[in-house]
Symmetry: none
Subunit: 416 residues, 2 copies
């Protein structure tokens, strides 16, 4: 089987809905995208369901699906992904949580779920918690992530991930943190709930008196005096991508969660301080890095761009248009450098984040796979409505993954 | 997640095939539908498979699928649905049948499966059977339904729904009613078959001498002297819609089966003597009622229209065109009153009933979901052939349900 390379750009939250302020266009339809249009004219397109019609997915599940995983089997919760993002190597039996540095008052009430969006000093604070010993000899591992986030892992015997989040969720400021409770009747769940309570109180005591927080108080900033936990999970087996298909994959990203997911899946990951995971990220730098990796021995390179999702969550259609136009500019550079007869180039999204909704939706995501020998759909404009008549319409993210593996010549024949 | 409302009009048996007499149009294509066309131009459209391509479904299964139920798990046969339609509250272990008042002769031969389409006196006749005691202390519950139909329930220990229908089916006039026999080797099935025989004979004796039938004979009408049973089922667990999604649903219908199904699914149901379940039903009244419910605290309102299916069964394409045009007129009223930026409006069907076939077929059903922020397909004519290029093409009824839940902001995120 002849083999080729592939480059896939994942535009987080790219899909959208018609927006009155944009004359009824979606941001992708509205943006001026001469270079994406050129790519589209060389490819197959469609609006692709991340999982199933009407099912909205998180970033974690959305990316596992883009990587072709059956998430019914291989999604173990957000906690293990955050641990991977933090570089913590999970052992069987570990329970991993996604954590927030938060501010609570003396009555357990949450003042701020993000401790004033703390960005500095979190490494020292996490270090102060790391290695904490709980009942039954359970050890806590803690490591800071981007801004107010951290990964927390319980390591020891007889643990369970069936415990309730202490984080009461988004619009909960003013409410108390939730009492840890087991979610099933096993002794492991009961024991873990008690350990979560012990951790929460011990962590609060340590953090309250930590110099970073004393300094924050002096400055009038909210202290990071509590850890809200959510998304507990126990990691299970996850076959690496190169165990599933004969290829060497790489990921170029700024966002730590994406770096964690792709690392779990066996990608070599590449980042740079200028890949900020924000609107000011260095797009051309990401594509330059991808080209460089394709010129060495990587076969499939995934480039992640976070900014469209942020604009969606922030209800900013104009911001989404702007980041798309900046991506288009960088694509102009890429298309000059890449040979579509040797490397397929595509783009997709993990989910839609419509600006008017401000959250992930189940709408299908605009997707393109271009290359010299793909069947062209004859479409030369970029956007949800233009893609509707494309050949990828209504397929799912796992279909798109398999189509890429097939085009690149990496699949086994079914039958003989 | 931002929440909105929804209104779904289910046009029973709407889908059809090209008809020579209509110049090769389907009835929906042929009908003049300026208001539906206007709705369509504001929406996504497609021809949707009720279950899977080529599988034709009954009204009961078709509606469970429209409500998003996995019918492999949650369809318990037609009997329990008819019991719900009759207002009989089933207990675990009950076996429910769909029954017909029928006319048989002295040799068990069926003269008329519908007892001359009897419409009057059925309440008294059912009352005469209700409370009958059979062997093993089994009690019979009986309650009349529309025209010649009734619900029959056996209540007692050790029963089974694995028994053959006594009703030999549609084109069986002149044949004898079928001997009750068990469909599996369990003692429960054997016992229930014996009880069905006992019921059939006792019921026939009671009915033959009932004043309603003596009066019918005097008038030269066929007596309702037998109960043909079919569709036995034992009700199992069925999660209510508001246990599955955070919304308050209502159904507006004339047809008792639909009222039964939606009531089983946890809908509040609304009917009116002028909602006849026939071609003369009061369509604007149904839509007025729906609007009123949406102005109180109902989130999702389903309006059922039976007449297209009847026209299909009766091989009357012109009749189907006429009911569609009457529906279009009522839609004109609705579209003046409703705000598509707050409430999604859609239409679909439970199955196709092609007029030339005269029965349900597996053809996909024309479907539309309109709203201010849905991605418009740019189609502005109503009909199977016009919908083919729409974004909902080839999805299934359960997909359409999930897409509505997603648009209305009622779904949980899969992953984080």
């Amino acid at each position: 089987m002849r083999r080729k390379q592939g480059l896939l750009i994942v535009c987080d939250g790219l899909g959208d809905r018609p927006i009155g302020r944009l004359n009824g266009d979606t941001p992708l339809e509205h943006a001026s995208t001469p270079n994406l249009d050129r790519l589209v004219s060389q490819g197959m397109v469609g609006n692709v369901y991340p999982y199933k019609p009407g099912v909205r997915v998180g970033t974690d599940v959305g990316h596992l699906l883009i990587l072709g995983y059956d998430t019914e089997t291989y999604y173990y919760g957000r906690g293990p992904i955050e641990a991977a993002s933090a570089g913590i190597d999970l052992k069987p039996g570990d329970v991993a949580f996604r954590g927030n540095f938060a501010t609570v008052d003396g009555d357990r009430r949450i003042i701020d779920r993000r401790a004033g969006r703390i960005t500095e000093g979190t490494a020292e604070l996490a270090r102060a918690l790391n290695g904490m010993t709980l009942e039954h000899g359970v050890i806590v591992l803690a490591k800071e992530l981007t801004s107010h986030r951290l990964a927390v892992v319980f390591r020891g015997a007889g643990l369970s991930a069936s415990v309730k989040d202490t984080d009461p969720g988004a619009t909960s400021e003013g409410n108390p943190w939730q009492d840890p409770s087991p979610l099933d009747a096993t002794p492991e769940a009961a024991r873990t709930a008690v350990l979560v309570r012990e951790f929460s109180i011990k962590a609060s005591n340590i953090l309250s008196n930590h110099p970073v927080n004393l300094e924050r108080k002096k400055r009038g900033s909210l202290p990071a005096n509590f850890i809200l936990l959510r998304g507990p999970g126990m990691m299970g087996p996850l076959p690496k991508l190169d165990e599933r298909f004969p290829l060497k994959p790489a990921c170029v990203a700024g966002d730590k969660t994406i770096l964690g997911i792709t690392r779990m899946a066996g990608f070599d990951t590449f980042t740079d301080p200028r890949f900020t995971g924000e609107a000011d990220t260095w797009l051309q730098g990401k594509l330059e890095k991808a080209l460089q990796l394709l010129h060495t021995d990587y076969d499939w390179v995934l480039v992640h761009v976070k900014a469209p999702d942020l604009a969606g969550h922030d209800h900013k259609p104009e911001g989404k248009v702007e980041i798309i136009e900046r991506l288009d500019e960088a694509m102009g550079f890429l298309l000059k450098e890449i040979d579509l007869s040797r490397c397929y180039v595509g783009f997709t999204a993990d989910h839609s984040t419509p600006c008017e909704v401000g959250d992930h939706s189940g709408d299908p995501v605009p997707t393109c796979i271009a290359g010299a020998d793909v069947r062209k759909d004859g479409i030369n404009r970029t956007g949800e409505r233009f893609f509707r008549s494309g050949s990828l319409q209504n397929l799912s993210a796992r279909d798109i993954f398999m189509i890429q593996m097939d085009l690149m010549g990496r699949t086994e024949k079914y039958g003989a």
